[in-house]
Amino acid sequence: MIEQIDLSLVNWARATFALTAMYHWIFVPLTLGLSFLCAFFESIYVRTGNEEWKKLTKFWMTLFGINFAIGVATGIILEFEFGTNWSNYSWMVGDIFGAPLAIEGIFAFFIEATFFAVMFFGWDRVTKKMHLFSTWMVAVGSNLSALWILVANGWMQSPIGMKFNPDTARFEMQDLWSVISSRVAISHFTHATSSGFLLASLFVVAVSCWFLLKNRHSLFAKRSIAVACVFGLLSSLFVAFTGDEHAFITARTQPMKLAAMEALWEGKEPTGLIAVGLVNPDKKPGDEQDPFEFSIEIPGMLTLLAHRRFEGVVPGINDLTFGNEKLQIEGVAEKIRRGRVAVASLGDYKAARKSGDAVAAERSLKIFNQNQDYLGYGYLDSVEQAVPSVPITFYAFRTMVSLGTLFILMFLVFLYLSAKNKLEDYPLILKFGVLSVFLGYVASQAGWVVTEVGRQPWAIQGMLPVTVARSNLDSGTVAVTFFLFLFLFTALLIAEIKIMAKQISLGPEGGKS
């Protein structure tokens, strides 16, 4: 069946979505984190009454405004793509996504229309406390606004609180609260937003280090670094904590993703975590090839990550693909068999309804209900198709974790030097500080690569593969839109960098916002 689907269409649609999402995620994390940093800076100003802190707050607020203006509405393109490239998916999840996205829209509108205006226009028009309250509301609101889209994404990774309606072909919401409060959704939200805080802290450090290297606005830069490093250190520790929680949940909801993250082919007890490794890209499920060209393993660590104790097996890709009786794991072949029963009975139900045969319809529906949890597997052609790209997931995970660890060390070093007032004595460290924001973006994007590549082939985990989620379009049309977006987003990025660079070079004394 997979051969009959135009794979180039699916891949172009995937590439377009990935491109759009990755560009969108350049702007979003900076908004999430910088909004809080502005609130911290302004809180210090209100508390001390020192006009230098006001100037400092206004400078970072201007950069926040630039990033917000360039990034605003870039996410809407993702929604365009749902309707055009992923129409089957879009139709099926409309009922689930409608509520969170509508709440996000309303929320964002009210916050932007009221508190943004006070934050940017109200400096000399409202009281200090009212202005500070508005800045905090922008920070809290922007982050809460991100909650809803991350709830939707969390649902795709672990669909709960819904029921598939075979008459309308839609997943219908049964329990909104369980969708919002699912551990996957909460873990996505906390991990993604805190990574935004980390990235924004790196941004403030990078710009401030640049000022110090240029010997400009030294006091301003040092003050900014001190606040950003405290926030960055706390955020990076929280990112590590939520990442651990994320892995623990992934072990339960998406064990194949965890196995791919670790290039773990055979489960063993206890299972080690690969600290450094070079994966064999040719390895396939069930073959006898070595999984690694080279690797260094920390014994028992993966078991600890997945079970929070040193006993227990973490299933490998082969266990999950071919099944493992001892571990009571159902293999993909059996899931495919039941999935095909679900697909066939759905077809029979539809035909019986059309012909008005109520008895046959009821019989088919009963069979469908017994097998509907395997629906997505019915569209797979072979067990291997249930395995995501191991090298991409493995390397992206290592990139994210190693950079995350590096940032913790970096913030500690910067805090120490900041406390000793010796930052300017170490120009190499300052240069690394400038570079760190780019590394932050690499880590942040790598995190999303793990999340999204690691869950392939699913658009909705276990229920709908991407090959069925797509629209019946000409792949050439989708390819054209890919390059259109590449052009548009690159232009926006260049605009952001140019405006931002100009504003930074003007410094805290420069220009009206």
Partner: protein, 73 residues
């Protein structure tokens, strides 16, 4: 109160400097997104090709089940 709120926005917009450039950019971007991309490149596939929800549901169900019969299962 209403007067104060009105002047907050009115004076705020009037006194913008960098904000003017940013607003122009936002408007150009929204124009490209909605007037060009949405209209010419991103029509809603189901809304364009079908006029009722029942037809759309039928089409999606057909996709969900046709794949099965295509592969002769």
């Amino acid at each position: 109160m209403f007067n104060k709120a009105f002047h907050l926005y009115y004076d705020g917009f009037r006194s913008m400097a960098l904000g003017r450039t940013l607003w122009k950019l936002v408007l150009i971007k929204l124009f490209i997104m909605f007037a060009i991309l949405k209209t010419f490149f991103f029509p809603d596939f189901l809304a364009t090709n079908f006029s009722t929800d029942a037809e759309r549901a039928d089409y999606v169900l057909q996709n969900l089940t046709r794949i099965e019969s295509d592969s002769n299962r």
